[in-house]
Structure formats: structure tokens, C-alpha cells
Symmetry: C2
Subunit: 322 residues, 2 copies
């Protein structure tokens, strides 16, 4: 990795115009990582631009310099990008409508922690042992001799905390906690960050959670649990489908539950299903039976039936593949 | 502190029979700390006994050597205790029916992180800067040259993680994360511990949560939120009053909420009230109006009225003291 990093440092030092981007449906790790990288490079007087590939969830609008993430009108033919840094993005398609910028950039650095990363960069720093891309950004900035100030540390703490379920997930290593020591020592306001990340559920989302929880059903000695979100429930709670995030964790966290299932009614007869497992069931196999997929512990698929029929079909499949 | 520690080491090395105890209503920090201390002292061939001052919540029964915490028939007159180590216990009363053992011990070591600690020991190691008593136990064991093995580390990780809301509370310092680095390097099964601590809510408790959430009411532009647990709800969910733990956090975590209130109907006209605040309201002052008290961000009191009247009274008081 050391050769790669010195090549990367050389590339950055000679680049005039640097663009940074991450995936659509951005999360804490992608937003925290691109901001930290941009703030770091700005400290060594680079002209940095962050491309807004998608809307930023309101949870993250508190991050310092969030306005740096903005829409660019990139006329690629006229003015090709010197250096593009893509963070936390497994493949080009996840850049959404901006995916063409990869082929229209003179040089691409791809930094990620997803095991599935396609290696689309000219330099690829992909380390699936890292709990978050934020950890890789930390190591790179430190490796480049850039001081981790309070603003950078706030972004990286957000990246790492959100991608590890506040340091509780399996992906956390002792290195994760070592990095957090440095971030805290940089003077971040941990209390404020944690209130904003974890104590800021909107009233609308809360009401959606409560009505969804009340649909809880369990099967197979409580080993399988389902909850639903219908269009009617969204309307009554004045919530959006993205407000469902967090519902499935509440269900998975029931002691006997091994497989948790959330059924989301996108429209009548279009039911998006999320599955989570706790210890041993490979839910990606269950979802592939409905042309979906994902990871062993978190997968999804769509069933074009009514929400009650979709529930029956997915539960049957879970039991069949147990 | 170094003098104190060398005195402590001398006391422990000369003691034949060591007893360890902690507070009633034990939590993860108290149970993890006493077990870790006992396992550490056993490694240097001390005869260690842990006094069970109260029932152990089922969440913690997975901890290694939990059977070491047991009921003793201590005939104090005949056989006074050589050395008593009290952990995570602010004052003698919190030892419950075992409080007399303090005066019946030849020497008492008091190790705690509560700012209110009364200093009842012959040696007092009280550090309110520590996020958990588990941090102090870690430092002491390391200071005594005792190797932190996997079992000790499992107990200390549980102590620290539970007392910090999985490293998200304000009390966390960079030292907290430094200690966790050592605990992870001792080979703990983080994944298993976190599933047992945070993904093991019983079905009964889950059903109680859901029915309690459905009583959510908000006041003052959603700045105040209340939920209730009645005897009827307990019966329907087949749950106990201790299963209410966690309900108030869900309510406090609503974005506009500054003060969250849980009303628990112990019996008709005996309503136990818990208050939590997020950023600035001192809820101990509100509770003291009803002869209760506690901390700025977490307090409690009892109102001897019907649950609906108690709700009206406490909300009026919150608004009055805002």
C-alpha cells in the first residue's frame, strides 16, 4: 500500500483542479468522507470541488462546510477533470447520472471499503478491513501530513460512527477506536454530534415507526418477524418512504428473532422487501429467489403482489431456505 | 493517585479473604466491573467472593463466570471480612440489605465514578472523569500487572459499552476508546457481546414498548413528550415494570423534544415519573417540586394521583420551570 499512497500523494500534489464524488443515496460515511477529504486538500491549497450526486439527508446538514457539496455543470468535452477522487463507491453505476465523469477524467482515485468494489480507478485503495471509508480518509490525510483539525474530525467521526452503528457492529476493529482517540483529541463536540445523529428523529418519522411497529407479526417460534409500511400509513404520518430507515433494526433487535422483514408498499402490487438476519441465515439467498440480493445479513427484493400476499410469499421462502 | 494505588496493591496482597460488592438494581457497569475485578484478583491467587446484593438482569447472564456472583451467609460477628472492595456504588445505602458489611469489614476499598460518591471507604478511588467504573477497574488491574485476558475484557467491554450508550454519551473520553483498543486486542467476541447487549429485547418487552409508544403525546410545539405504562398494559404484554427500560430514550430521541417524560403506574394513584432532557432543561429541579430528584438530564419523582392527573401536573410543572 505504501507505493500506492506515494503515487496518490504525487498525483494530488500535481493536480490543479480536483473533483470529489460519492454514491447516490448518500449516508454518513459517504458525506463525512467527501467533506473530510475536501477540507484536508483545501488545507494544502488545492482547488477542490465536491459533486452533489444526490440530495443530502437532513440529518447531515449540520456538518461543517456542507455547502461545499453542490451541483456543478460539468461540460466534460471542453474541460476534462484533472483528478477525480471517488469515495465509498463500489462501482461506477452508484455515481448515478454522474457516472460519465469517471471516463471523462484524466485520472481517477478510487477509495473504498466495500469488498465488492470493482476497482474502476487508476489508483484503487480498497480495504474491506476498514469499518468505514472515513478510516481510510483519516489514514490518507495523516499520511499526507495534513493536520486533522476539529472540522475534519467532526466529518470523520460522523462517517465512522454512522457506518458502525455507534461502534457496535462487527466491522469495528481496534484500529477504529484508535482513530476515534485522535478525532476526540482534535476537539470535536461529541455531545452535539451524537444528539444530531441519534437523538433527532422527526415527529413524522416517529409516528411512522409507531404505526409500523403495531403491524408486527412473528412466525416460527418468534424466529421470523415482519412489519409493514403502506402508502396509507405514510400519508397518515405525513412521512416519506425514506423515513422507514431504522424500523427494521427495532424488529431485528427482538431476542428470538433471527430474520427480520420490512415490507414497504411503493405502490399497489409493488412491495419492496428488506431482510436482516442476526447470526446465521444468509438472507441474500432468500432474496435471490425473487431476483433480489445483497449481503448475508442485509438484503432486499421486490415482489409484485399485494402487501399481504408478498408477506406470505417471503415468509414461506424464509422458512423454506432456513 | 499513585500513592493510593500502591497502598491499594499492598492491601490486596496481604488480604486473605476478599469480598466484592456493588449496588442494588445492578447494571452493566456494576456487574461487569465486579466480575472483572474478581477474575483479575483470582489470577493472582486471591480467594475472592462476590456478594449478590440483588437479582441479576437476564441481559447479563451471558457474562463469563457470572455464577461467581452469589448469595453468602455472612456471619459478621464471628468472621469479619478482611478486605471489602465496593465498586460503582455512590453510598452505603445502595448496598441494600448488605450495607452493614461496610462497618463489619476490617478495610474497605471504594472504587467509583459517580460525582456524588460519599467517600465511605478506607481507600477511595473516585474519578468522575471516568465514563464507567469499568475504566477504573481496567487501570487498576493493569497497574497491578494483571494481564487483561479475554474473560476480563468481555466483562470490562460490557461495563463500558453499557454505561456509555455504546460510546455515544457525553461521558466518553479519548481514554475510553484507548481502553477499548486494549479490550478488543485481548480477543473479545465483540459481535456476540453486542448482539446480547443490544439485539436481545424480549418479545414481552417489545410488545410493552409498542403499546407504550402508542400513548405518545406532545406539548409546547413538540418540545415536551409523554408516554405511559399502566398496569393494564403490563398485563396485556405479559411484561414487568423493569421492562420499561429503553422506552424513554425512544421518546427523548425525537428531534424537537427537549424533555421526555415516562409515567409508570406502580398502582392506582402511585405514578412513578422519569424525566430526561436533551440539551438544557434541568429536570432535577422539576422533580424536586414533587420531592424527587436526580441529575440535570435524568431525574425522577412519584405523584400520588391517577395517571392522567399525574401527567397534567408534571407537564404543568415542566412548562412552569422552562
Amino acid at each position: 500500500m505504501n507505493n500506492t499512497i506515494s503515487e496518490l500523494i504525487k498525483k494530488i500534489s500535481t493536480a490543479n483542479n480536483i473533483y470529489i464524488a460519492s454514491h447516490v443515496n448518500p449516508d454518513g460515511d459517504s458525506i463525512g468522507s467527501i467533506l473530510a477529504m475536501a477540507l484536508g486538500l483545501r488545507k494544502i491549497n488545492k482547488n477542490v470541488n465536491i459533486i452533489k450526486t444526490d440530495e443530502i439527508p437532513s440529518d447531515y446538514l449540520f456538518l461543517p462546510n456542507i455547502h461545499m457539496i453542490r451541483t456543478y455543470d460539468i461540460d466534460e468535452e471542453k474541460d476534462p477533470i484533472d483528478l477525480l477522487v471517488v469515495l465509498d463507491c463500489g462501482d461506477i453505476d452508484r455515481l448515478g447520472k454522474f457516472k460519465s465523469i469517471v471516463s471523462n477524467s484524466k485520472f481517477v482515485i478510487n477509495i473504498d471499503h466495500h469488498i465488492s468494489n470493482s476497482g474502476f480507478g487508476d489508483i484503487n485503495i480498497v480495504d474491506e478491513q476498514s469499518a468505514a471509508t472515513g478510516e481510510l480518509v483519516f489514514d490518507l490525510l495523516v499520511g499526507m501530513g495534513i493536520q486533522i483539525d476539529k472540522e475534519i474530525a467532526t466529518c470523520l467521526y460522523t462517517a465512522i460512527s454512522t457506518d458502525t452503528g455507534s461502534f457496535s457492529y462487527d466491522n469495528v476493529t481496534s484500529r477504529t477506536h484508535e482513530i476515534v482517540v485522535s478525532l476526540i483529541n482534535a476537539g470535536i463536540d461529541k455531545s452535539d454530534i451524537n444528539i444530531r445523529l441519534y437523538q433527532s428523529r422527526s415527529i413524522e418519522r416517529t409516528n411512522l415507526f409507531i404505526s409500523s411497529f403495531s403491524t408486527l407479526k412473528t412466525y416460527n417460534d418468534n424466529k421470523i418477524a415482519t412489519v409493514k409500511v403502506t402508502q396509507d400509513m405514510l400519508k397518515k404520518a405525513n412521512a416519506k418512504m425514506e423515513d422507514t430507515e431504522g424500523i427494521i433494526s427495532f424488529i431485528r433487535d427482538i431476542k428470538p428473532v433471527e430474520v427480520a422483514c420490512l415490507l414497504k408498499e411503493n405502490k399497489e402490487k409493488e412491495i419492496k422487501i428488506s431482510l436482516r438476519s442476526k447470526r446465521f441465515v444468509d438472507v441474500s439467498k432468500i432474496c435471490s429467489a425473487f431476483n433480489g440480493g445483497g449481503h448475508k445479513r442485509a438484503s432486499g427484493c421486490t415482489i409484485n403482489e399485494s402487501i399481504n400476499d408478498a408477506e406470505r410469499l417471503i415468509v414461506e421462502q424464509i422458512i423454506k431456505m432456513w
